[in-house]
Point group: C2
């Protein structure tokens, strides 16, 4: 269908004010925040209700128009921008941003998909509750996108991925059918679990329009520490010890390599090194408790660390004694993405392995890098407690500018690292998802039976392949054979 007919139809369905098609208006929606992925669309549609989403999807399905859903456009895998056809609808959810119900007695909150994560966090805190999903993009990402991608972040160790924080969802299917699965129950064993199939399916099976979220008691005591250790093995051993000692209170357990620590400081304004000398490896630890004082919690943490300090496993330990010091320690961690961007061209790999295999992964990955790309500095930052590392090969801007076939380097390097992870039962995408960037890895690293099952579900729920086509699954066409 031609673009002007499509735009007119969309205006009819959602109102003229909720459709844009001027290139300059659409431009911010057609390129991702890191300027690495871009696409085109006939128009951007901003539905205001679930019924409007339903009408848009039904129309597009009937007319073979591809639909690309978009939240806060903070994907790092090209999952939030359309393809290059220019004939598609970009469905932006930001106008569906109401908090529908906030129920502290039930520790639940029902929100529309376009709510910004930080606004949800704030609304929970206002009623003395915690919504624990915490990640770098929280100021602009939307909960619908978090759900579509099963986002992770720094609190997963204690509270789980986004999947674990969702009591119920509302979904509009490719053909416009609405499934209202909004529930606020903790237990419900009545039939198949549909919710989890949609969570993490990245908009390829339908559009999440609302969700009921789990809330938790707001922590009133927090203890934060930064530990300096000589080896990654010592870091992991200490981390596993803390996990065993504080299973209900350990909320964060982050690992930072010396290279990453120094990069973060180098590109920060007014940041100082809290250590006299940057350790080989830094472990950032955070405990949180609903009751008691931060002082008492810090004391328990100090006690737990004392043995490792005495026997030399931990060389240095900084315990934040006030909120400012805590912010300073976390600041180094939170600043890494921006700092890496200034430092050079960092090729990031979002791998996970069983936590205790992290030292093996770091060693083998370091060897592979030294052998094949000696110009790259290994930079490591990650959610150690989840076995999830962001393993970055950092090239200088100058070096990278002179690389002739950049795509070939990226491909070869990533497969060197993904092969190492796969050899340990690991994954090539721990928390960032697939988007358009990792579709080819799906075909390489997932087993054929699993891909075939996924393709069957795609074919069942979106037989015309109008929902976020080209994302997540390889060989969409092959799927039609089932």
């Amino acid at each position: 269908m031609n673009s002007s007919s499509l735009i007119a139809a969309m205006m009819e369905l959602v109102g003229d004010a909720n459709v844009i098609d001027a290139p300059s208006d659409m431009e911010p929606h057609l390129i991702d925040w890191r300027k690495r992925h871009s696409g085109k669309a006939a128009c951007v549609v901003f539905p205001r209700t679930t019924e409007q989403v339903s009408k848009v999807l039904a129309f597009c399905n009937d007319n073979g128009v591809k639909v690309f859903p978009q939240g806060g456009n903070t994907s790092v895998c090209g999952g939030s921008v359309p393809d290059h056809s220019g004939q598609s609808v970009l469905l932006n959810m930001r106008k569906m941003n109401r908090i529908v119900e906030l129920n502290p007695r039930n520790n639940s909150m029902t929100v529309e998909a376009g709510c910004v994560l930080a606004d949800i966090q704030s609304a929970a805190l206002e009623v003395d509750r915690l919504f624990p999903l915490t990640l770098g993009a929280e100021g602009s990402c939307q909960i619908g996108g978090n759900i579509a991608t099963n986002a992770g972040g720094t609190n997963v160790l204690r509270f789980g991925n986004t999947r674990d924080l969702i009591l119920g969802i509302e979904v509009v299917l490719a053909d416009g059918r609405i499934w209202n699965g909004l529930r606020s129950l903790r237990k419900n064993n009545s039939g198949y679990d549909l919710k989890n199939l949609f969570i993490g399916s990245e908009g390829t099976l339908g559009v999440v329009t609302a969700a009921t979220l789990k809330l938790f008691p707001k922590p009133h005591a927090i203890a934060t520490a930064m530990l300096g250790v000589d080896t990654v093995s010592a870091a992991v051993d200490e981390g596993l010890k803390l996990q065993a000692a504080f299973p209900g209170e350990l909320v964060g357990l982050e690992l930072i390599s010396q290279s990453e620590f120094d990069i973060s400081l180098r590109h920060a304004d007014n940041a100082r090194n809290p250590f006299q000398k940057t350790p080989n490896w830094t472990v950032l630890v955070e405990l949180a408790a609903a009751t008691g004082t931060s002082e008492a919690l810090a004391e328990r943490l100090t006690d737990a660390l004392s043995g490792s300090f005495d026997n030399g496993v931990v060389q240095d330990a900084l315990i934040a004694s006030n909120e400012q010091q805590r912010a300073e320690l976390w600041g180094i961690r939170h600043h890494v993405t921006e700092a890496n961007g200034r430092e050079g061209m960092g090729l990031t790999h979002d791998i996970a392995v069983p936590t205790y295999r992290i030292p093996d992964f770091v060693e083998l990955a370091g060897q592979a890098l030294a052998e094949h790309y000696p110009a790259a500095v290994p930079v490591v930052v990650g959610h150690m407690g989840d076995g999830n590392l962001h393993y970055i090969a950092m090239f200088t801007h100058e070096y990278w500018a002179n690389v002739a076939d950049k795509a070939a380097v990226q491909l070869k390097l990533s497969h060197l690292l993904y092969d190492i992870a796969a050899g340990m039962g690991g994954t090539f995408s721990a928390e960032h998802g697939i988007g358009s960037l990792h579709v080819s890895e799906m075909g390489i690293y997932k087993d054929a039976a699993e891909i075939a099952l996924m393709q069957q579900f795609k074919q069942l729920l979106d037989p015309k392949d109008t929902m976020n086509p080209g994302r997540v699954l390889p060989n969409q066409v092959a799927a039609q054979d089932h």
Copy 2:
């Protein structure tokens, strides 16, 4: 296909020693433990490997033979016994009972489906770890059945349902395809979440043959208390307060009505009432922590309760000061199923509502019972922290023997109670599942769009309807229309 050909084929596939067909041998497998549900089968097959399961399922699918999977046969919904055709295969998993890998460093354990839950718990404890799934049937139920039914129990508040304790599963599909989804990663965002669709699908989409389980640190400090309160509102308020105070440590929060408490004591050998007078409502509280002492934990619990004791919300509080006292308090809770069976004919309803609505549910349910079945005593026991009550209408054996149309009473009563739960956004099956018992409720209480989606999935994965037919979903035939 005739029975003798079927039996010969099965013997060919799994070996003569792993097939039984004599009625006396089969009998224990054809009736459930409460003697409320029974069925027939051509034979009982005991596969020893995943490959044998695959061959059996492929053969049955090719030949239109129905397959009924069975674990420990402890379903309370008729989910573990076959239908009455006598032409089917009962697939019993108990010979697949190996612990494949126990990895304390990764806090994971991979087991075959036929492992008995208590054996898994013990194996974890031996390496100083906890597998937290805990329920009455743990001495005989199998992990495959727990996964198939997403079993609940008394630790759900802290550790979640079975679903939340599973890192990966292996499944044989209806057509014999094997999906090996055994993983031990905490994070893996690579494609659709297939695992959760099979968990809780009660063997209607395939057979779970193995699983990788999450382990947790073994608690070294435990504090247990029994609180006596006057009203169910006070019980819930106190429970919510404790949940807020001990989010990482509160593992159990059970509610027991005066009637249930007295029934449990009345039918126990050597049990004494720990209270001077049974309270109107009893709350059983348990805290567990990885470190510290039980004494210190009990002291913190006492401190947290003191305010409610002083202001009269809690009338009586017993804190167990040793393991024997703890066992005595839990004994009253664990004994209820057996005691209820001796007391009379108890019609149990496994409902859930949002926790804070429990007082409303108890009030409205009590009114309905008084109005329609004044002969029934309301007996309540449940997992208060999850909003999950086992609401039992207790008739004397004498009264029940004289009820002419027992099925009509059960149906009317259950719908009175399920309507009340549904009116609060609740469910008619919180943790026991659907089996054959609640199939009609699925058609009544779930919305049509949701049932249609479930039927689509069933049709996709088991188009010939050979896997546990007649369970979970209503109108299997209608599903064929999609």
